[in-house]
Symmetry: D2
Subunit: 196 residues, 4 copies
């Protein structure tokens, strides 16, 4: 039985870099991977962008209503080569149904799925995709990054003029509609709210 992995981390923990590295590890072995990115993340369109400077086009830009398992099967038919691994970027934006499809791909179709994503939004609440991944993934693996204070960052603060924002829409894309900073629990809890 193959497994569904959720590698979660705060923003800027190197998730896309790690995903591109896994793809590279398979392809060096002449094994085929399929790269998926949620269309909800409009930044970079269908590009998987690592902050280290490596970029690559997703094979599937997955829309909220789309069936991941069907999309994958279609891809599979096109090519003569079996899929060895499915990698998902920005997996917090999957719908719960798409996560269940990812589980079925691993468990019933025998293809390991590694989903990379953020655990929680700017109010420390899970995104629909990350919530479902934390419920059903075989393995939850943390990717670490640091807070301004040097501790491990676990939350993603949305930044306002002079502090952090605690109300608003769940999805506002980083660098386009809002600015974010990964913080440790203490810095997050003790931060001043932004001026209105």
């Amino acid at each position: 039985m193959s497994k569904l992995f959720f590698r979660y981390g705060a923003m800027n923990s190197g998730k896309s870099t790690a995903m591109l590295q896994v793809a590279h590890n398979y392809e060096e072995r002449d094994q085929r991977v399929v790269l998926v990115k949620s269309s909800v993340d409009t930044k970079g369109n269908d590009q998987i962008v690592s902050r280290l400077g490596v970029t690559r086009t997703a094979d599937i830009l997955l829309y909220p209503g789309q069936d991941l398992r069907a999309a994958l099967r279609e891809r599979d038919t096109e090519s003569g080569q079996d899929i060895a691994c499915v990698l998902i970027d920005e997996a917090q934006f999957l719908t719960p149904e798409q996560v269940d499809q990812a589980l079925a791909i691993a468990v019933l179709d025998g293809i390991p799925v590694v989903a990379f994503g953020i655990r929680t939004d700017f109010r420390t609440r899970a995104f629909p995709g990350s919530q479902r991944l934390m419920e059903v993934a075989h393995s939850l693996q943390e990717m670490k990054t640091i807070c301004r204070c040097g501790s491990k960052a676990i939350f993603n603060a949305r930044l306002g003029e002079q502090g952090i924002i605690r109300e608003g829409d769940q999805v506002m894309i980083d660098g386009e509609q809002a600015r974010y900073e990964a913080l440790c629990a203490r810095c997050y809890l003790e931060a001043e709210p932004a001026a209105p």
Copy 2:
């Protein structure tokens, strides 16, 4: 900064045993622990019961509306000795607010908190307490057990006459109102539904 740990596992993975062992490790060092159990788990009342045969009374039987941080402070005042660690049994039954209180105890009061609990209910949905713990805990640590097929069990099936039940109340206490079996994802997905 102390941390909030969530040690999750399917039913019968040895969570209560592990919790009693951690308590023992601290007390052997003459360090004080406080044992908390959610009152929602009516089985055994205020007893923390390990299937290995070890049993111990909880210091705090926590009710849904109760403030964990306040309850702890009260305990602390009673005794001359600082609390070195807080241990929580059946933590899936905490309210989200109580989990936030546990985070504050770790981050703001400097006392490590280790919460032991089940990840998901019989329909593979998180309990309110486990959902909040998966959102905010510093560390998610899996406790393993096995499925009937020998694979790792990750789901908790509610058993009916001839199969598994997929509809009903979220909370039905094991051995009192319902019977459960920890299953791997494949055995869970492929199981026949119970006869109505």
Copy 3:
């Protein structure tokens, strides 16, 4: 392919309790486990003793020159039931050859092996068994306990009259020939040597 697991921890981290819990989890499923203990640990003879108060007799008391795979095969023939899991207590005392046999049991015979043991001796050097386990185990899993200062203990200090001892035989059984204390790295490095 089954795996060889090494669950290591400082002294008094609850390794024997965890091992007895794993045995219980299998047996509750009517699956058969074989419990192995190294004969080098003379404390308790063939008893696996948990500090929580649970005790059980080992199925195989393994002598340094003995072939683990052969001993297991002999056990297997005696019974009509397949072995679902092999559990090893005090695995730091295995010979490197016995660890290689444990790897073969997992990889070639398809039986998962979980070895529980101490990582290093009183001078922070690996035991022969733990060294080989750290080289070849599929998974290294830490079992935690605490230092007198509250930090995580990773070393095992041998105690003398007024401090810790840094010279002597590698194997001196706890409570019989020597006394030990699990310490964090800082407390270990900064400790006064014992008076001669």
Copy 4:
């Protein structure tokens, strides 16, 4: 107390990429890191080379007899900025003394040290540096890669004409003096020895 981390993995598991990502995470925060590489790895000289295409010059090319803690202190004096983290590439080639110095940097000087390296040589025996790291590191974290068969690779086979080589010098640099392939335990154990 800061910690010493050992992130180990078979060859081509993405260790250098992960190290450069950690450096990036700190520097984005305007925190200073020092990159160390063992001089025993002559490939790329003082360059830290990621197979994803990212390359960077090491701050310290560490020679076998050199004192890491002294080399770091010297670096520290040169600059007005404190060191937030020390990162070590090819850490399997450190001497045991240098690993002890890395532990002292973490524990006594308060600077976290993350060492990246291979666990074992082509005969599945630890390198001196990785052995000492497995003895004393606070945290052992595996970096995964895959075998030709799709399983997790844990061993590094040295390749000969028609099979794998099981005798020879421990250190022969990849791509210069020898060729290697990361294999799972089964593929390694079952492989034909190379023709002499």
